[in-house]
C-alpha cells in the first residue's frame, strides 16, 4: 500500500481551544478513508489544514503525489488544489448565480491556459480549449447524474443536486485525492444510496483516493476501507470498519450501544 498523504502530529489550536491535537495517520492510495467523530471533534478543521485553508499550529502534512512530494503546511488553497487535491464543503458553497455547467467549467480552470489576450482575441487555440472545457464539464455532469440540469442556475437546483454538483466541480480539477465533507448530510435514504454508488464508482473507475467525513454510519461502514475516529480533536481509533465498530472508546464516544 502506497501512502498519498502522511499526517504527522498535526495540531490546530484556536487560542486555547485545541480543535485538532497531535493527529497522525496515513491516507493510502486508492482507498476510501472514512473520518468520523461527534460534532465539534475537529474533522472539518483537519480538512481545512490539509487543503491549505488553515495553517496547522504544528506538525507536518506530507503529500506523496505521482508527480512530486512536498509539505502541504505552508501552501495556499489554490496551490494545494493544483497539486491534485480537491474538496467539497460541509455547508454547500456553490457559485450560486452561475449555471451548473459553468460551476464545473470553473473547476476546469487549472486544466486550461487562456489568459487576458487569449480571451479578447480568441485565437483557434483558445476556441478549441473552450470547446474542450465545455465538453469535459458536460461529461463530468453526466458522471454525477446532472446532465439534464446543466443549464439551471446552481441556486435553483434541489439540495441533493447541489451536493452532487459540488462533487462534480471538485472532480473537474482532476484530483488524485478527493476530500468529501459530509456529502450525505440532508439527503434522503434513496439519495444516500445513489451517493454511495457514486463514491464507489469514483474509487473504482477513476482510481481516486477519497477522504470522507460522514455522520451516516451505514454509508461510512459500507464504503470505507479504513476509518479514522476523532474525538475532542484527538485520534481515538483507526483501522478497518469492522474493527473500529467494535472499539470500546469509539462506542463510548460516538457510536452508542446499538452498534455492538
Amino acid at each position: 500500500m502506497t501512502p498519498l498523504v502522511v499526517l504527522d502530529r498535526v495540531s490546530k489550536h484556536f487560542g486555547g481551544l485545541k480543535a485538532v491535537e497531535r493527529i497522525s495517520f496515513t491516507i493510502n492510495q486508492g482507498l476510501i478513508t472514512g473520518l468520523i467523530g461527534p460534532n465539534g471533534a475537529g474533522k472539518t478543521t483537519l480538512f481545512n489544514c490539509i487543503t491549505g485553508m488553515y495553517q496547522p499550529t504544528s506538525g507536518s502534512i506530507t503529500w506523496c503525489g505521482a508527480e512530486k512530494s512536498c509539505l502541504l503546511n505552508r501552501l495556499k488553497p489554490h496551490q494545494v488544489t493544483r497539486l491534485g487535491l480537491a474538496r467539497t464543503f460541509q455547508n454547500i458553497r456553490l457559485f450560486a448565480n452561475m449555471t451548473a455547467l459553468e460551476n464545473v467549467m470553473v473547476g476546469r480552470h487549472i486544466q486550461s491556459r487562456a489568459g487576458i489576450l487569449g480571451a479578447i482575441f480568441k485565437p483557434a487555440r483558445v476556441r478549441s480549449e473552450e470547446q474542450e472545457i465545455i465538453s469535459q464539464a458536460r461529461r463530468i455532469l453526466g458522471l454525477v447524474g446532472l446532465a439534464d440540469r446543466a443549464g439551471g442556475l446552481a441556486k435553483n437546483l434541489a439540495y441533493g443536486e447541489q451536493r452532487r454538483l459540488e462533487i462534480a466541480r471538485a472532480l473537474a480539477t482532476e484530483p488524485q485525492l478527493l476530500l468529501l465533507d459530509e456529502p450525505a448530510a440532508g439527503l434522503n435514504p434513496s439519495e444516500t444510496e445513489d451517493l454511495d454508488a457514486l463514491i464507489k464508482k469514483l474509487q473504482q473507475e477513476l482510481r481516486l483516493t477519497i477522504l470522507l467525513i460522514e455522520h451516516d454510519m451505514k454509508l461510512v461502514m459500507n464504503i470505507s476501507d479504513e476509518i479514522v475516529v476523532l474525538d475532542h480533536g484527538e485520534l481515538i481509533a483507526q483501522g478497518p470498519p469492522a474493527v473500529v465498530a467494535r472499539d470500546r472508546h469509539v462506542i463510548a464516544a460516538y457510536l452508542g450501544e446499538e452498534f455492538c
Binding site: 489554490h78 456553490l94 452561475m98 440540469r149
Partner: protein
C-alpha cells in the same frame, strides 16, 4: 391580463409624470413661474403603455419556452405557431448579432441625419465616455464583485496622463491614449495590493480614500499638475494626422483643406462622436468576451464565493489584481478621451460624485450585464439633459427615477443572464458521458 396592464400603465404614468407631465413657464412681466400641466402628453403615454403592455402580455402567453439546455423549443400551444416563429427570430442568440449591427449602423448614421444638432451629438459623445467607464467598473464591481468607490481616481489618472504628456513632452492624442490606459492599469494594480484582504464595506471605504487621495494630489501638486487651475488647450484628436481646426498648426494639414471642402465646426463634433462610438462598441466587445472567458468565469466565481473559488485552484490574488488593473485601464482610456473632448481638465471634474454616478450606472444596468450597463450609461447621461427645462428640479427628478427603478427592478434594467452552452448533437463526446470517465481520457 387587462388588469395587470392597467396597473403597469398607472405606475409608469406616475413615474413619467414628473418628467414630462408639466412645464414651468415664465409669464411675461410677472415674477415667479407658472405650472402648466400637459394632460395630452400624459394621456398619450398612459394609452401607449397600456397598449404595449397588452401586446406584451399576448406575446408572453404564446411564448415558446427554453429547454434546460437553452435551445428554443416549439411551443405546443396550438395556433401560436406563427407567433412563436417570430419570437424565435428575435430571441435566438444568432439573431442578436444582426440586431446589434443594425443598431450600430443607425448610431453611425445618426450625425448625418438632418435636424441632429451639435449639442445633441455632444451629449451623446459624453454618454459614450460613460459607457466606457460603466463597462470598465462593471469588470471590477459587476464581475469580480469588488466594491470600488474610488474608480474616478483612475479616470483622473487617464485624463491627466494625456494632459501632462502633452504639456511636458508634446505627445499627440494617439500617442498618449495607450499610455493613459497603461498608466491607469498600473495604478489599478498598485492600489490593488493593499486591499487584497479587504471585502465589502471595508474595501469600499479604502478605495473611496484612494480616489480622494489622487484628486487631492492633483489639486495640490502645483508645480507639476498646475493645481486647481488644471491643464488647458489640450489638443483634440486628429484623423490620421488631419486636424479639425480652422487653421492648421505649423506643418499640419486640416481636414477641410485635405478634402477641399468648407470648414465647419460640425466635422469636429461628428468625428468625436464617431470616435467615442467606436470606443464604446470596442469596450462592449472586449468586456463581453472577457466575461465569457476562463478569466471572466474566475472573476464571477470569486464574486460568488471566494473560498470555493480558491479551492478550485484559482489564484484569487491574481484574479483580483487583474480585475482592478483591467477595470482601471478602461477608466484610463475614458480619461484620455475626456481630456481630448474638453480640451481642459482640472481636479474638479474628478470628485466622488463621479464615482457614485458610474457605480449607479453599473447597479442600474444590472451588475455584470454588458447591454444593461450600456443602456444605463446612456440613460444616466441623457435623461438629466432632457430634463434641463426644469433646471434645479432635474436632479430631484433623476433621484426619484433611480429610487423607483431600484424599488421595482432591484436587479437592474437588464439583469445579467448566464450564457447557455448549446449541446452539439453531432458531438459524440456529449452523448456517452455515462461510461467514459473524464479523468482517464485526459490523463493519457
Amino acid at each position: 391580463m387587462f388588469l395587470l396592464a392597467l396597473r403597469d400603465a398607472c405606475w409608469l404614468t406616475l413615474l413619467a409624470f414628473p418628467l414630462i407631465g408639466f412645464d414651468l413657464v415664465q409669464k411675461y412681466g410677472e415674477t415667479g413661474k407658472e405650472i402648466i400641466f400637459e394632460w395630452q402628453a400624459i394621456g398619450t403615454i398612459f394609452i401607449g403603455i397600456l397598449l404595449i403592455r397588452l401586446a406584451a402580455g399576448f406575446f408572453k402567453r404564446y411564448r415558446i419556452y427554453r429547454c434546460p439546455e437553452g435551445r428554443l423549443q416549439e411551443a405546443k400551444l396550438g395556433i401560436s405557431n406563427i407567433v412563436s416563429k417570430v419570437y424565435r427570430l428575435f430571441d435566438h442568440r444568432l439573431h442578436q448579432r444582426p440586431a446589434l449591427v443594425t443598431l450600430f449602423a443607425l448610431a453611425v448614421a445618426l450625425p448625418f441625419l438632418p435636424r441632429v444638432s451639435n449639442a445633441a451629438l455632444d451629449v451623446l459623445t459624453l454618454a459614450f465616455i460613460y459607457v466606457v467607464l460603466g463597462l470598465g467598473l462593471n469588470i471590477v464591481v459587476g464581475l469580480a464583485g469588488l466594491l470600488d468607490l474610488g474608480y474616478v481616481g483612475f479616470y483622473a489618472v487617464g485624463a491627466y496622463g494625456y494632459g501632462l504628456l502633452y504639456q511636458y513632452w508634446g505627445w499627440s492624442f494617439w500617442q498618449a491614449l495607450p499610455a493613459c490606459g497603461m498608466i491607469a492599469a498600473l495604478f489599478g494594480v498598485v492600489l490593488g495590493f493593499p486591499v487584497l484582504r479587504l471585502r465589502g464595506d471595508y474595501l469600499a471605504i479604502v478605495t473611496l480614500g484612494f480616489g480622494e487621495i489622487i484628486r487631492i494630489i492633483l489639486n495640490n501638486w502645483d508645480s507639476f499638475t498646475n493645481g486647481p487651475n488644471g491643464i488647458s488647450s489640450i489638443p483634440r484628436p486628429t484623423l490620421m494626422g488631419l486636424e479639425f481646426s480652422r487653421q492648421a498648426k505649423e506643418g499640419a494639414t486640416t481636414f477641410h483643406d485635405f478634402l477641399n471642402i468648407e470648414y465647419s465646426s460640425n466635422h469636429k463634433q461628428i468625428f468625436m462622436y464617431l470616435l467615442l462610438l467606436s470606443m464604446a462598441v470596442f469596450t462592449m466587445f472586449v468586456v463581453e468576451r472577457l466575461q465569457h472567458s476562463r478569466l471572466g468565469r474566475a472573476w464571477i466565481a470569486m464574486r460568488e464565493d471566494e473560498t470555493a473559488c480558491a479551492a478550485m485552484g484559482i489564484n484569487t490574488t491574481l484574479a483580483k489584481l487583474s480585475a482592478f488593473g483591467l477595470g482601471a485601464c478602461w477608466a484610463g482610456f475614458a480619461g484620455g478621451f475626456f481630456a481630448a473632448r474638453q480640451g481642459f481638465i482640472n481636479p474638479e471634474s474628478f470628485t466622488f460624485i463621479e464615482s457614485a454616478t458610474i457605480l449607479a450606472i453599473v447597479v442600474l444596468g444590472g451588475m455584470g450585464s454588458t447591454v444593461g450597463v450600456t443602456i444605463a450609461a446612456l440613460a444616466v447621461v441623457i435623461i438629466p439633459e432632457l430634463a434641463r427645462g426644469f433646471s434645479q428640479y432635474r436632479m430631484i427628478i433623476f433621484a426619484v427615477a433611480l429610487v423607483a427603478l431600484m424599488l421595482f427592478k432591484p436587479e437592474g434594467l437588464l439583469p445579467a443572464k448566464r450564457r447557455m452552452y448549446e449541446l452539439h448533437p453531432d458531438d459524440p463526446n456529449d452523448l456517452n458521458h455515462e461510461n467514459q470517465s473524464v479523468l482517464e481520457v485526459t490523463r493519457q
